[in-house]
């Protein structure tokens, strides 16, 4: 016959449960020292494995990321096709923004001309009396200042 539910009995049962948690029951499993060491080893191996797996995953992501960020050649905007063909000593692409600057090309060419003359003169004076100072002195050319 089932025991009848009374508040006092219920209270005793709850207190008993707390005590069981606090001190353990007689049938509770108490691992031995040897088993404890095995468990520690097992957990250590799992932790190291997880750590190594995480490192490998990060390395894999880093390697594949650089491949993904570089678009295939066919998808790149073909700037070079809109430019004149490469010529002797001038094999480079020109940014469209550079070609749209309002500075007159004649003035730019004059600056280049002046720059070459100044550099030529500097090089000549270096050849006349070679010294590192003459080789590295600053130019007054507007092209580079």
């Amino acid at each position: 016959m089932a025991a009848r539910f009374t508040p006092a009995r219920h209270k005793r049962r709850i207190i008993g449960l707390f005590r069981a948690f606090e001190f353990g029951t007689g049938r509770a499993f108490v691992p031995s020292q040897k088993e404890d060491t095995r468990m520690e080893m097992f957990l250590t191996i799992i932790c190291i494995s997880l750590f190594l797996f995480a490192i490998m995953a990060l390395a894999f992501l880093a390697a594949t990321r650089s491949e993904r960020t570089t678009p295939p050649a066919s998808l790149k905007p073909d700037v070079a096709t809109h430019l004149p063909p490469a010529r002797f000593f001038s094999d480079y692409t020109v940014s469209p923004t550079v070609t749209q600057t309002p500075f007159p090309i004649e003035a730019l060419l004059l600056q280049i001309d002046n720059h070459v003359r100044l550099e030529h003169a500097a090089a000549e004076s270096f050849l006349f009396a070679p010294s590192p100072a003459l080789l590295h002195n600053k130019t007054t050319s507007q092209l580079v200042n």
Binding site: P84, S90, I105, E119, L127, T139
Partner: protein, 156 residues
């Protein structure tokens, strides 16, 4: 008649210079006229008598090909030494800055002169080597200065 001794015949006596120049032909260019183009066959060497010659290279400036000055030569200086050095192709473009007069010496004529007068040949070859060497040193220095600037730009 040249007002100053041409660098190509430096070290030679005046009579030999006269004899060599007499084998050439006079070339006159008006301002802006082209003497030779880059890549064309070089069969004559030129000595500037009067005026100035611009030596240029093509450069892309804002997407357009422009002739950019490399060197400017004046009276007494030699242009077109490529005519004496294989593969006998001009490596620059030459244009007259002002009205210019020159003496053109064909390679064939010079080679004949050198075979008959080896001393002239030796002197001319030495002078050509000096001209080329000077240009090399000059452009070496110019190149290093440009590199120096590039390095400074990248470091700042």
């Amino acid at each position: 008649m040249l007002h100053q001794q041409p660098e190509l015949f430096s070290g030679l006596p005046a009579d030999q210079i006269e004899q060599a120049l007499a084998r050439g032909s006079r070339v006159s260019l008006t301002s802006g006229a082209q003497l030779f183009a880059l890549g064309t066959a070089a069969d004559r060497i030129f000595i500037i008598e009067r005026g100035r010659i611009r030596l240029t290279l093509p450069m892309q400036v804002r997407g357009k090909e422009e002739d950019v000055l490399v060197e400017e030569m004046g009276p007494g200086q030699t242009i077109g030494w490529s005519a004496l050095i294989p593969p006998y192709r001009f490596t620059l473009k030459a244009t007259a800055s002002v009205d210019t007069e020159m003496i053109a010496l064909p390679r064939v004529v010079l080679q004949e002169l050198f075979s008959t007068k080896p001393a002239v040949g030796c002197a001319v070859n030495q002078n050509v080597a000096a001209i080329i060497g000077q240009r090399l040193q000059l452009f070496q220095a110019m190149w290093l200065r440009e590199m120096q600037r590039m390095v400074e730009l990248h470091c700042h």
